[in-house]
Subunit: 266 residues, 2 copies
Amino acid sequence: MNIFVKFLMVIMVLFSGCIDTNDNSVLEVNSEQFSDVLYQVSTINALMEGLYDGFIPVSDLLTHGDFGIGTFDKLDGEMVVLDGICYQIKADGVAYTVENVTTPFAVVTWFENDETYYLNDMNISEFESYFESKFPSKNMIYAVKLTGNFSKIKTRSVSPQEKTYEKLADVVKNQSIFEFENVSGTCVGFWIPDFMSGLNVPLYHLHFITDDRTAGGHILDFEINSVEASFDITPEFYVILPTSEEYYGMEFSDNLENDIKIVEKQ
Amino acid sequence: MNIFVKFLMVIMVLFSGCIDTNDNSVLEVNSEQFSDVLYQVSTINALMEGLYDGFIPVSDLLTHGDFGIGTFDKLDGEMVVLDGICYQIKADGVAYTVENVTTPFAVVTWFENDETYYLNDMNISEFESYFESKFPSKNMIYAVKLTGNFSKIKTRSVSPQEKTYEKLADVVKNQSIFEFENVSGTCVGFWIPDFMSGLNVPLYHLHFITDDRTAGGHILDFEINSVEASFDITPEFYVILPTSEEYYGMEFSDNLENDIKIVEKQ
């Protein structure tokens, strides 16, 4: 057999490995197939009770969405995920890009705009009721994004906690508050229907990051100057419950609804 | 350039297409990767309010689990999914194997036994408290399977409904009741933690099918003679919310907890 034929046979053997005739076990995944899914790590009632040990790496979280909110191991700051980048707004008010940390609670999705409204000169209550009136249903989940200029925003972040962890309603008594005036940036978050209370924060839960991505936090209050406000209808949700001994042994508060109000808006 | 070199270049061009240097978009999927996930169609509060139009084909449902319960389009019978086969126990008490029908509410998982107990001579209350005492946590979801002999089982099924649909608590007033004595079969279902109420039936929700797969229904009561009782710890759940206009416009009962008790055990 001449060298050319032998070479041809070698090439054919090498080439044949590329032809996968049985692809039953391989499923192409791209963001479009898994859009419209809210991916959630842990539950709000576990976070409220003090389950602050991160157990899902942020790098893993980012494979489930490019938009969302949450917190970090030991409650070390407020999370904003925007355009696929995860920002950690720490208690010093500074936003850091992170990936090699874990989260004890986070909520993300692949943001796909369904409806957009141009809003001017609204306070937070006016925004909340106006925007809710635009939702097709109160029985649905929405990712919510506001981009533009705010005459005022008040945010908070918290310091990393040490064990034995206090409950969240107590931790926020020592939160750091940040006040912005005439600031441009993006509010990132969700609107959750009532029947998911216990799992997630009902109604609005929004975090903020400045356009230059240097500051932000969990939103306590704002006044809109001029924004583009969008929502993404999210009809599926996927929750990962913790399996730590600490979670297994937890008893959840009967006063959850009130505790959440304290934590979310004060 | 001699013919050999040209040929080599052609081969290299062909071969290069096989080398996928960017496999970020391909994810291997097999059932093991998606075990420990409870896959749920719709919510119990929507079903309670009369959302009986099926919207997920059973053939689709069976790609998400081989074990579970639910109902069918128009509330036409009680569903048992066992060993990957879907059974429809109709109001005549007969179990039919089905695939080309839709479901408005169903809950399935890939059953993987975590712990097994051999139980004798227990009524339903004794079973419920004993088995719960074996769970590692009240904050977790469990798939529950009992296989063996029952001295008595009482089950029910319902007839297909016509619009305008009544609420489920009213439909079950006309349920068909079936009583079995000294029967062998399998109880299939779930134990759902309290914080998921509104989404799913809290605590136990079990259906039954005989060993010969000819009869069964939603369990109202039983007395165990001798069974193998297993649970599967299920730390993840995935819910598909309906997106019909009917669901969008629904108002959910404030009396859900009581209505569920009526529907589940009477």
